[in-house]
Symmetry: C2
């Protein structure tokens, strides 16, 4: 091995000391050895093309150049995928496998201007267009003859989509819809790829026909000339400007000045407008929930992959970095030896597993419910909706917090873009807002929980994910505290049920003073979000525990021990974070809490030896991780310097601003 | 008033409904009406020069162009200050007034390459150079004939400065020091202005003379030729690369290849090296604490000004933004009407006051202690050190959290750079790491607290800021819970004392099992940081309450009511956040907690009507706020669009990447 490929000795020692088989865990995470092999093959195929390599790292480019580079890379990436799809057995049959996971984000690290074409434009046509419309559009879209996006959010309206202002007014004389933006706030604002990339677009607008408004409906609209790419008449379009992150996504604005489209451009799988302007209602309004829930469910997995990257970087860095000298005659320890550092990292590692298993659980539920839906059974839709809302909120906010905690755990070097943390944070924190703002999401779940409480009170049966409410709402005394993982999980259910009960009591109390239900709800809403969070924590803890219990049946004793330690750590960590809730709603004692604290500290020490092995098992290639601090070989300082030298500012020893400004200023001649 | 200068009617209505005199509060914050006038005059003088205006907003520039713009603006800013200083009565006599506050950051929003010249280079010469050395350097530095910076941190060492590796070896033959970077990790890394701006530098290095190492000492080193700006022989210098924020600061790296400097370039006010190489020790090693504490104390005020900006933006936006329709037949309410939104904003407003008063309290203490120090009295130094460490940690982390909470409270639009949040977050979160990493800071305070506990146990008197420990350590029973602000503050002291006591008990218990003190400390360190935080919370709550009680004596009844509501809110908010601690260490009951929750919700409603007035009182000019969402006139959507249109990408309807990549890709010809 040459100097340049040698692994840092501290990191090597960590690997030598790992007590379990790292590959076994990787296979478990992937869902089997073959899946691991397939994933690795896919990564190799994509990465060997070298599209991810930049001459100058994109962080040094101007905003405009960043966009141009993103278009270039996105085109080459999709060209390659198109080619690989045509070949057989490349594992590229599914766009999502490549786009959704870490692989796509390794190539387009700050977002892609083509993502919404695949993630929203095509799926919306598939889900909401008639068969005739699909014949017309799907082929061209799949082929990328046209590039589309999805325009819903407006300058003045985001999460509350009923308030959208763009109008689509049917004109029976010409059999056309007239799309119009009546106000500045009605401009579409935010859609990715809309600014300069897409030439077609699904537009969500308020449908007017025969003088009546029928609420929002989707329309397909051509935005730009297919040959010249010039915006069509009446289309006012551009980009919304620089953002905290995702500067490769080309988010745009769009205004209509009475733009006419044929009647057939309304997507009419559900509701319809006939030639004469007659409106035909959709069979069920709940059918449109589907896509929104799909995206939220997928999001959980998505943010999870960022958490895995973040803890991989921070853990490896912590094994390489040495600091301070607690004992006078000994060398500076690895910062991984500090318990405060372990406290920041171990929970991050456990969070990856907890969220991944929760994501996969809700993914199964989603598929079951969708199948039932297709068979006309809508019964479990509200439960899925409620669960997907709070899980979206908690997983994205936990993920954002974990990424930042990992960054801060790397000290100053985490602040460098070369660490990869800042770009990741930009991606993850965005998810706290898009696809349903998190506070709104928690309040949506709270509505379901309050309803469940009232159902239980009325003696009605509850759906499985809220079944725990029944015993608390019936006023049954809580059992004596059991200071085990199962006991804590049960305690979290009592907390959630207790909080929901307290909310209901508060709302009713306020109503009795003459307050309207809506105002009483609003006054109680801080507590409602907290109840909703508690419910979600109980769900994640339960799922993580149960799914791990299932998984470990088939693993080696060494790995089993570590996986159980991780579950213990996660559960005890959250118990200590929520001691106040447990004290209020369960019979936990001060002695129990002190025991939990010691248990937690012991778990940190136990997991210490396997920290590097645990993140190695996430099996994230250096090209995908893209971090000077986190590479497999641990050459942290060498890579930091190599990255610094790529800055164009370092190409000249003296910058021109010296002659133009600095020297005249120093000589008093400016 | 023209359309373009009209205030948004929602915002105007908020102002009309405000119950107190906004100017009265502004004056109170500034320290009197005359101070307000002086500040405004200073702002007007600087801003009328127009240095803050950019042709193209800097967020659209390349990394290199950002630096060049920062140099240009920094030179013009300091040229102007130099000129104004020469004139009389401009209030510009003190650089810090202009640089430290919001004004400097309004012009150089992403950091300045000249800051360290004023903040570290000149002060270090003043504090650590002999009179003869000052004669030589101070004039040139004040005049900006030379531009300096301060290089301490290295690639491999930050907070732990004893571990620095750069060497300065005295050669008695030539009477020179030889500066050398023995390893890659010994390269200086991070100093602002070091990369391409400064031509001189204070370098902190391990001093070797007569074969012995005497620890770290400061040296003044010329880096670049004064005429050509070319790096001098043996100087390896450049920039460290792009960062999460502060991309105008020109952070650099610096390596030495046996660079020789005259003996007189060691700053010798304290320790000395004689011509023959004899080392003369400094009279007291504690003297060097001063500057570090100064910076930490100033930092509290500094981050506070960012919190004030953040809540101003989020509150005004929340008055303008409407969303959802909780009541079927009513219009969409302002989002400020949602209690969940008030929950995010009100605590932010209170935090500004709490931190500002704490900052001013510790600033007074700092000045007193420094005066005592000059008189040879070192007694209160450890107390000041302990308090400045935890206050630095808590104020920066609270500030960073508040800025992010405000950003997220603005939904998607907060994610735009035009909101100003992302740049602010970059500045504030950096302060969690620099000048002493926050976890390390908390553990420094914890050492003092543990010592105080042991002193109290030994019956010794305690210093004022930890005096509350005495009664708990003596095992006195806590008084019955008192559900008032004073009662809660007392409760927080009990929590802090209780946690310190628990830490001491845990450390001793672990030592009894044969563990070394250092290992026992490490095992207990998660609890130690928590004790340290609790101590700091108790200090901030106490100070905020006491200082407000003092201030309100001289204010109008209307303002007094609001200021007291804010204190109540702050104290009750933190009580609810720390319910677990209160349940463990005080006699608070479930009923008390429920009352606190109702009290909190009522306070939110009471403060609602004055929310805009409260942030208006921070009196931050639009040019300093620099936010499309937060401007005084509330023209949120118009400004967002105006900012978007400044993006160079919007200058052409079709970007060149369409012809180069997108069209060939769509046509299958790429």
């Amino acid at each position: 091995m040459t100097e340049a490929t040698k692994v840092n000795p501290d990191l090597q020692r960590e690997r030598d000391n790992c007590t379990f088989n790292v590959t076994e865990l990787t296979n478990l995470i992937d869902g089997g050895a073959q899946k691991t092999e397939e994933r690795r093959k896919r990564e190799e195929m994509v990465l060997k093309e070298g599209i991810h390599l930049d001459e100058v790292p994109s962080e040094y480019l101007s905003h405009k150049e960043k966009y141009e580079l993103a278009v270039k890379k996105a085109c080459y990436l999709f060209k390659m995928i198109r080619r690989l799809q045509e070949e057989e057995n490349t594992g590229m049959e599914n766009y999502q496998e490549v786009l959704g996971g870490s692989l796509g984000s390794a190539i387009l690290r700050d977002g892609s201007p083509l993502t919404l074409h695949y993630v929203m434009f095509i799926p919306t046509i598939m889900g909401q267009a008639t068969v005739e419309q699909q014949v017309l559009w799907i082929g061209r879209a799949f082929n990328c003859d046209i590039i589309g996006t999805y325009a819903q959010t407006e300058l003045g309206h985001g999460t509350f989509i009923r308030g959208l202002e763009t109008t689509a007014t049917y004109d029976p004389d010409t059999k056309e819809f007239v799309l119009h933006s009546p106000t500045l706030t009605s401009y579409k604002w935010w859609p990715g790829g809309l600014a300069h990339t897409a030439n077609y677009c699904i537009v969500v607008a308020q449908l007017y026909t025969k003088g009546q408004c029928h609420g929002i409906h989707p329309f397909i609209v051509q935005l730009r000339d297919e040959e010249t790419h010039m915006p069509l008449p009446g289309i006012k379009i551009g980009e919304i400007g620089a953002k905290l992150g995702m500067n490769g996504t080309n988010n745009g604005f769009l205004g209509f000045d009475k733009v006419r489209i044929p009647r057939e451009h309304m997507l009419m799988k559900n509701a319809k407008v006939l030639e004469d302007g007659t409106y035909v209602r959709a069979p069920s309004s709940k059918l449109t929930y589907g896509t929104m829930m799909f995206v939220r469910v997928v999001l959980v997995n998505d943010v999870c992959s960022y958490v895995a990257k973040a803890v991989t970087i921070a853990t490896r860095y912590s094994a390489v970095r040495h600091q301070s000298q607690p004992k006078p005659d000994e060398p500076e320890p690895q910062i991984l030896d500090y318990v405060t550092q372990q406290h920041k990292l171990a929970i991050g590692i456990a969070t990856v597993h907890a969220l991944r298993l929760s994501a996969s659980w809700i993914w199964n539920m989603y598929n079951n419910v969708t199948a039932e839906l297709d068979a006309g059974d809508l019964e479990r839709l509200p439960e899925l909706h409620a669960l997907s809302c709070c899980l979206k909120a908690i997983s994205t906010s936990d993920a954002a917090e974990t990424v930042e905690r990992c960054r801060l755990a790397c000290g100053g070097h985490g602040y460098m873009l070369a660490s990869s943390f800042p770009l990741m944070y930009g991606m993850v924190t965005a998810a706290c807002t898009y696809e349903g703002e998190n506070t709104v999401m928690l309040l949506q779940t709270a509505r379901y929980l309050v309803k469940a409480w009232q159902q239980a009170k009325g003696g009605n049966p509850l759906t499985p994910t809220v079944a725990y409410i029944a015993s608390v709402s019936a006023g049954r005394r809580s059992p004596p505290w059991d200071n085990t993982v199962e006991g804590i999980i049960h305690g979290f259910q009592q907390v959630a049920a207790g909080k929901i009960g307290a909310c209901v009591a508060n709302i009713e109390k306020r109503q009795r003073t003459g307050m309207s239900y809506e105002d009483a709800w609003n006054m109680t809403s801080v507590q409602l979000t907290s109840a909703s969070e508690a419910h979600c924590r109980a769900f994640i803890l339960t799922t993580y525990f149960n799914e791990t219990e299932n998984q470990i049946k088939a693993v080696s004793p060494a790995l089993r021990a570590v996986l159980l330690q991780l579950v213990d750590l996660y559960v005890v960590y959250w118990a200590l974070q929520r001691v106040g809730d447990l004290l209020r709603f369960t019979s936990i004692s001060e002695r129990d809490i002190e025991q939990l604290q010691s248990w937690y500290e012991e778990l940190l020490i136990k997991l210490r030896v396997n920290a590097v092995g645990l993140v190695d098992a996430f099996d994230i290639r250096d090209e995908i991780l893209h971090s000077a601090l986190g590479a497999y070989d641990g050459r942290v300082y060498e890579r930091l310097m190599e990255e610094a030298l790529k800055s164009p500012l370092n190409a000249q020893p003296v910058n021109q601003s010296f002659h133009k400004y600095l020297k005249p200023f120093m000589q008093g001649k400016l």
